[in-house]
Symmetry: C2
Subunit: 350 residues, 2 copies
DNA sequence: CTGAAAGCGCTTACAG
DNA sequence: CTGAAAGCGCTTACAG
């Protein structure tokens, strides 16, 4: 079929020029066909399409990018400074939802990292990324500032950035904390402690703020040392719980700002023979898969990572495609009640 | 500093041509400086570098790709046909290790999906990806075949592909199963069941094969119905365990081909009041973070996802950079013994 | 409806 | 050591 086409190298690739030659039309026409433009006769288009099909031609995206000044690429930036990049199941869902939304709008995802050589702003610019989505970066990051200043459409997940072309998407973290406290209060708990996440992250800050407000609203003072800091991971929840249990008057309920930390707390409680939820009730945050599967199953605030990612993706393509204003969105979280606060089965007393 | 440079649009970007003009040299010279080439006087280079620095110039990757015929991009393909793409913590680690290795060799990662429009081969080609890493794809996939045929450097993780420029990296799955059986046999277990993963995946196939061989080697017949199928996720482990428990003679040990399924099995066992490990011992596969944190903690075969990703990344860049032969690698797995097979603390009998 | 030409931002022989 | 020119594969006015 291909006649005398010689295999110059392993990867000699068909070009638009070749398609034009073989279908006996000009390059402009082939270009129009590829881009689905009107103004091409059916007959011509069919002929060109046939050749394209036969040669399995795919346009060269790089060449197209040079001309159009847009790449169809969105850069996703992960900060893997403090924590392992994708270790948090929550971020996985975010990435998943983000990717899905982007793909459905015809964009592809470039995975960048904060600590990459040259900085992610340079990398994003190098690849002519049409927009950037940042996950887990902290405010005040010079790279972030440069990005915002460069007016490149950007949205941050779980960080509060603002600019003419920069916005954010996060969960309603404060409300989550408020829900947790209300739930525990309704169960008769009055000595509630919090195990907070990484202090320099927006979610940790907002959850702590919500916790404080709710405690005050319900007229419950926060006992000394009842605001423990953690880092979102198991170990820190375990340690924090041990510190809480070593107090003269331990809490009767704990609000952990992540399920992983809640699981660590559960572990510490079980080791000390403290009954959950009778003696201490535990609420987590995220609704990770294992929250349903651990024992006791974990009451938690479900945040929809996939939806967050999807929302960010849609917002960013809307900015690129329709010059939409940057988002400023807080998605609702839902309290999922399980055994760690209210046992479904009656437990034997001993 | 920039004199009369007007902000033509939001994103008028500095070009090499502009750098040349402002430093009073030719474009070729600027190009040489950027690419660190020799044959430029120190004086000239410094002058050019100063201008580049002041204008925060970053080369246009797309234009460079058009000329060089290589993009510096490696496409990572996830199959999200059957399972949620990144839901498996194991794949997270793989992605993490892969990204790290690629970055350290100067490559960036493009995230593609199997079910994307046009197929991943087209997308990879469109972006002039220099290589492709496939994660969780199944053999016989036409897209995979096309990729292999196209001689584009490719490595599959957990799938067995081979070609002049295509190889694979996986764990030593069969050996993992052998270790599991040996461990259980040493503990006196003789009625061992397996809960297998998705049947069309390489890991599931190899783990089952290893299991059969080991059972035979130890002279233990596999009882009828003791080969249960699962899909790597919790639920399927739970269901499989219930089926096993409903038998007249249930197993005294279970080898689950993923930690998630093992956790599901644990749940079923606890619901039925079956003691683990006294009555039934459980071994998982992966060593997910929660294997350490669940109760009882889970004996499992640790596979190093990050190392697998890293190995694949290095192999693929070696193919691109040094025309290295494609990899065919099985990384060792390590048995981590925990409470689900041998309790560390003596348990009270009741 | 169609094609020749110019040009996107780079790199790479080719001369000097 | 340095620069002018050609060309990578595309798209986009501009003519017809």
């Amino acid at each position: 079929m291909l006649g005398g086409r010689r295999a110059v190298s392993l990867r000699d690739v068909t070009t638009l020029h070749e398609i034009a030659r073989l279908s006996g039309v000009g390059k402009s026409t082939v270009s129009r066909v590829i881009n689905g433009a009107i103004g091409v006769s059916d007959e011509t288009r069919d002929r060109v399409l046939a050749v394209i099909d036969e040669l399995k031609y795919t346009p060269n995206g790089a060449a197209r990018t040079v001309r159009r000044r847009q790449s169809g690429l969105v850069a996703a930036v992960f900060d893997n400074g403090t924590a392992e990049p994708f270790q948090q199941p929550f971020f996985q869902s975010v990435l998943d939802g983000l990717k899905r939304a982007l793909n459905s709008d015809g964009y592809d995802l470039l995975l960048l990292t904060k600590d990459q050589s040259g900085g992610f702003r340079k990398r994003a610019q190098y690849f002519s990324a049409d927009a950037v989505v940042m996950i887990g970066v902290s405010e005040g990051d010079p790279d972030v500032d440069q990005l915002v200043a460069a007016q490149l459409p950007a949205v941050a997940i779980d960080a509060h950035i603002e600019g003419p072309r920069a916005g954010y998407v996060t969960s309603d973290n404060a409300d989550g904390a408020v829900q947790a406290v209300a739930h525990l209060h309704a169960l008769g708990r009055r000595r509630i402690a919090i195990i907070n996440g990484l202090a320099n992250t927006l979610p940790a800050q907002e959850r702590l703020a919500g916790f404080r407000v709710a405690m005050q609203d319900w007229g419950m003072p926060i006992a000394e040392g009842f605001e423990q800091r953690g880092d979102f991971y198991h170990e820190s929840g375990y340690e924090a719980m041990r510190r809480l249990l070593s107090k003269r008057e331990p809490p009767d309920a704990v609000f952990a700002c992540s399920d992983m930390m809640a699981l660590g707390a559960l572990q510490a409680l079980q080791e000390q023979g403290v009954h959950v939820p009778d003696e201490v009730a535990v609420v987590g945050f995220d609704d990770n898969p294992f929250a349903r599967w651990c024992r006791p199953s974990l009451t938690t605030l479900r945040q929809d990572g996939a939806l967050i990612g999807e929302t960010a993706g849609r917002a960013v393509t809307a900015m690129v495609l329709r010059d939409a204003p940057p988002p400023g969105i807080r998605l609702p979280v839902e309290l999922i009640v399980r055994d760690s606060t209210t046992p479904r089965r009656p437990e034997r007393q001993d």
